[in-house]
Amino acid sequence: MAWRLGVDIGGTFTDVALVNDADGTIGIAKTSTTPRNFGQGVITGLQQAIASYNVPVDDVSLLSHATTIVTNAVLEQKGARTALISTRGFRDLLELRRSARSDLYDLFQDAPISLVPRHRRLEVTERIDAAGAIVTPLAESEIADLVATLKKLEVEAVAVTLLFSFLNDSHERRLGEALRAALPGIPVFLSCEVLPEVREFERTSTTVVCAYVGPILESYLTQLETAVTDLGLPNLHIMGSTGGVFDVKEALRIPVNSIESGPAAGVIAAQLIGSQINEPDLISFDMGGTTAKASLIRDGEIEITAEYEVGGSGSQNRWVTGTGHPIRVPVIDLAEVSAGGGSIAWVDPAGSLRVGPGSAGAEPGPVCYGQGGTEPTVTDANLVLGYLDANSLLDGDLPIDYNRAVQALEEKIGNPMNMDAQTAAAAIREIVNNGMAEALRIVSIERGHDPREFCLVAFGGAGPLHAAALAEELEIPRVIVPPIPGGFSALGLVGTDVRRDYARTLYQPLSDLAAQDISAVWSELITEGKKMLKESGIPASRWQFHRSADLRYTRQAYELNVTADEGEFTTTTKDQLADKFHARHEQTYGHQNLNEPVHLVTLRLTAVGKLDRLEITHHPDTVGNSEKSRRSAWFADVGAVECAVHDRNRLDATSQLTGPAIVESLDSTLVIPPGWSASNDHRGFITMERHHNE
């Protein structure tokens, strides 16, 4: 009997998800996150999980981990002492950025932070042109001086980004070879290895972030790997931003590849649910304490984007703000809004009610937690509306101060706006739901997908509280609430495959390229992928390679990714690729231009080592009458109504509930509004649907 273990570090809790390979039984262990030394919480969580589920360590087949180390190092500016080497005349590229300011009207905004200060930005004489030809050869004579300077600056990592290295990498590789030989023990990241793609600032930024976080990630992962090995567990795997896992060595090769690993895990978990219930079109909705994230799964496939920033003021994917450090590696396409249980409601000077972007976070937390919070939050609103238990949460572990929440709502919102606490709470909820609906809009309607054709998978501690209201707003007919919604993301860590994405920029009109030349590049990437999979110990029978291309009209700036069909790539399939692009453009933007030449920017390859498919189930401890109490809850249109409160653990495979009703479990509360019904199934999934005869 084999087990898979996944560890996900959240702001408050570190979750360990367990899945029994044989029967799909899942379990969860929660422990406090240890921000000073994340590894400590991981080990504690693993020990707890192993003990409480009696898991023999020899029977663990996969251990994977989502890490926030990379993001934290950048946010807290605690990365390595990094140097950057650029083409002569261009050392300031990192600071010059794209020259737009992040906030149009903030007189007091700070300059964006450069991870490498100017005195550690060095130059080397060389130049390659836009055709990839050498204009100025690499000045070999300068290398010795560069090495001496790097030593004098006591750098801990080096990034090298030369112009047009994505077309001709000979200078970068020669310089890299010399630096690696002269500076043993100091990681050297070359842009042609990290991101062989056009756009020098974004490539520089990505390479610099790799160098900046590389040493920290290395020390964290090697220590953690030693600790898990000591526990007798198998090699550690890390989740990448596109939702696959890879081993530690691969994670260290390109550190930014694991930047969005936590959020990616949630989407992968949703995908897993979809494959189990034969629902290929899903929108995943993950709402926690501070943010809500939405992502789209179409035909069972996750959507990937290459526009991402770390450490910025916001990462709502509609518009990258330019305040952070761009990272042009593929990440799961998520829309994120600053809306969560901790989002603070306030009245602006003109008397209008606003929610967020401020958050009470884990500390002091919502007013009702009684831990010093004074500003009313979304959680307080949910409490006052009757959705949350007025006495305690987390099975009695978290006492709740209902009166204090009412008082805060009255003082801060109700009095200035002349409404009672309940009306204020309902208003807060409507505004925050509208903000979150925007995230769902971005990944669906805005990308040309009709939400009515999708099923919403709602999780995160607060997701099931708001899911039906959001589904209503976007006319999504069905909502799936998985078991253990609060720790659901961690399940994605173990329900995935080994995966890595490769890219090569060609930057030529599609018509100028012969099918066999394109095919040859993919073959090279496949060779790299095979090497990675082989080193990961995945048998060849489980290897898969997916080819795709980033295409656009010749004069556009943004590409759309189009998948190539399986089989030999011929002139005919090349034409089909162009046809697919036109259709995708029409779907996304509402128009296409068949006369305009199509430009091939980047070829991509995803190498996958398939793991066994999981079928998860959650068997409740007790069965019996699920209704444990009744309480009054407030709903738009109908007002306050008495509704049944059910214990999720006591629902059985045939349980049918009619809204209004509330379903409570350890880490989450599900609201079934009037007009909705819900059914539980044998796996412990709850499906909510709107009545047809509304």
Partner: protein
């Protein structure tokens, strides 16, 4: 607008619906921006972002602007109103209108407005408009930045005209437009993107109307503007009252008149009076119109004032940018001056150069009575270089348009920012690799200019320097640059930033000075050398923090040590 209605709280719409619909309107404007950026063809739109998107009410007042360029704050409503004035009786669903005439609410000819009415079940909800800078709009100079002496010389002038009728393009109109601009297929791509962006917003407005009702939606649009006005008044009244004057001079208009040996400078004078919850700005005493294209329509001048006021009054961006926000502000200028252009004065440079200058001067005029809310002069010029000709690599005609950023001014409590868009501008640079793949040029360096930030207790942001080598062909270039004669001013004792410089280095090594405005030939192998200005400092340089100065020396932002700092 009477005082009563100004102050009345939101009585008609419940506040939650108001907040939800307001947010949706702003998100719709933001969505327009995405559609445009992702589908446009010319680098200035797709990678530099030189455009603005707005949603307007039935009368053409701006209800919501996307997160776009402050330069378009004041003048987009006039552009939409010009369309409404002409077509209000027969605009139908699926119509699209186009125009670029500065004398009908446009800004300058390259800024092309595409305006689409939004309908729901036959009822008109309002209008959507994308103003986008086309890299070429005809005229004798590629990029349309020549130093000409009337608007007829500036390129194709379009009064409000109908481009699509009931969803179908009028081929005659489109053909006429495309015949008059360089690289017409690229322009067609841009135009389609503008139409698509409007279409997206119209659909979203219709969805809102379906959900909340036409009357309710159009009423909320009014309330959103009232809300901005109320916030603006509240926040203005919290600032000190006062009055201040400021004057500054411009380098020249690119025209050397008879009897002159160099381009003559001219002066802008402004007076700001802030009292209670309103503010007045007048430009009495400003020099008369110049013969070159350095004359701004008043709405363009007002945009510069609005931009700085928003930074002064609302640094945390609480006030939604729309027509309501500007009701408490009165901007006036004598007709026929450089800040209130009259037909047929040419305007192309003034669009950004006057609005930049006026934005910086607004801070200067208010420095004495609200010193904690103003900043020193930023780079104050768009630093434009255009190139055009035949690309020897493929025989195709090309036009390149770039704006180069310099320093952002020092603030009351911190340094300026090195090399970033300031004031009315917020376009991005074009990546060097994209530029060289697209056009036959090579960038030789692009770096921070040391010692260019004005000294002060807080240092002005440094400027940048950049050089382009023209490869294997002769290029017809043009420049538009300010602050070569009048360096960006410091404030409260801070020193001025370094002035701008431009010259042409020929293949034989000789260096030729260039005028700051207008076209020039850049032959094969020549190198255009540009330095854009640094920004002004804030406060007495002697009070600079010595640790901050040491850090500047270490990083090479400053190369000369200041002795005896007291900070």
């Amino acid at each position: 607008m009477n005082e009563q209605s100004v102050y009345s709280p939101l009585e008609t719409t419940d506040r939650v619906t108001f907040e939800v619909v307001k947010n949706s309107l702003y998100k719709a404007a933001e969505e327009m921006k995405i559609v445009l950026a992702k589908t446009a063809y010319s680098p200035i739109l797709k990678v530099a972002g030189d455009y603005s998107c707005g949603i307007f009410d039935q009368s053409g007042s701006m209800v919501a602007q996307g997160p776009d360029l402050p330069i378009h704050l004041g003048s987009m409503p006039d552009a939409v109103r010009a369309v409404i004035e002409k077509f209000k009786h027969d605009a139908t669903e699926g119509d699209v209108f186009i125009h670029n005439d500065p004398y009908f609410g446009g800004s300058h000819l390259p800024d092309v407005n595409v305006v689409t009415p939004a309908f729901y079940l036959g009822a008109i909800l309002g209008w959507t408009c994308v103003r986008a800078h086309w890299p070429d709009i005809g005229s004798a100079t590629p990029g349309s930045y020549g130093a000409v002496t009337d608007i007829y010389g500036e390129g194709l002038r379009m009064p409000p005209i109908r481009l699509y009728h009931a969803g179908k393009v009028d081929q005659n109109v489109e053909d006429l437009i495309l015949a008059n601009v360089r690289t017409p297929d690229e322009r067609l791509g841009d135009l389609r993107a503008q139409v698509a962006a409007n279409h997206r917003a119209c659909r979203r407005l219709a969805t809102l109307a379906g959900k909340y009702g036409v009357d309710s939606l159009t009423r909320i649009m009014q309330e959103v503007m009232d809300y901005s006005e109320r916030l603006m008044r509240l926040m203005l009244s919290e600032l000190p009252d006062g009055e201040g004057v400021f004057s500054d001079f411009c380098d020249g208009d690119g025209i050397i008149e008879d009897g002159e040996s160099e381009d003559a400078t001219f002066t802008i004078r402004m007076r700001v009076r802030k009292h209670g919850d309103s503010l007045e700005v007048d430009f009495n005493g400003t020099d008369p119109a110049v013969s070159g294209p350095f004359n701004a329509p008043l709405s363009v001048t007002a945009s510069g004032v609005y931009c700085s006021l928003k930074m002064i009054v609302d640094p945390n961006s609480l006030i939604p940018a729309n027509s309501g926000a500007w009701r408490p502000i009165r901007v006036s200028a004598p007709p026929g001056t450089v800040v209130n252009a009259q037909f047929p004065s040419p305007v192309v440079y003034a669009n950004h150069e006057i609005s930049h200058r006026v934005a910086d001067m607004t801070f200067g005029a208010m420095a004495d009575f609200m010193p904690e809310n103003v900043m020193a002069c930023s780079q104050g010029t768009s630093g434009i270089i255009t190139l055009g000709g035949l690309d020897p690599r493929n025989g195709q005609r090309y036009v390149s348009y770039e704006t180069i950023k310099g320093g952002l001014g020092a603030r009351p409590n911190k340094d300026g920012i090195n090399v970033v868009a300031s004031g009315i501008s917020n376009t991005m640079n074009t990546p060097i690799e994209i530029l060289e793949l697209s056009f036959p040029v090579r960038v030789d360096y692009y770096e921070i200019t040391p010692d260019s930030g004005g000294r002060g207790k807080y240092r002005g942001g440094c400027g940048a320097r950049r050089a382009w080598t023209i490869l294997d062909h002769d290029s017809r270039a043009a420049v538009c640059l300010e602050h070569t004669q009048s360096p960006p001013f410091g404030i409260r004792g801070g020193e001025a930033g370094a002035p701008a410089k431009i010259s042409l280095k020929l293949q034989d090594g000789t260096i030729r000075p260039l005028l700051t405005k207008g076209g020039f030939n850049a032959p094969k192998g020549s190198q255009i050398l540009l330095e854009v200005p640094g920004a002004g400092g804030y406060g007495d340089p002697g009070e600079r923090d010595s640790a901050a100065h040491e850090s500047d020396l270490l990083e090479g932002y400053v190369t000369v040590r200041d002795e005896g700092l007291t900070g």
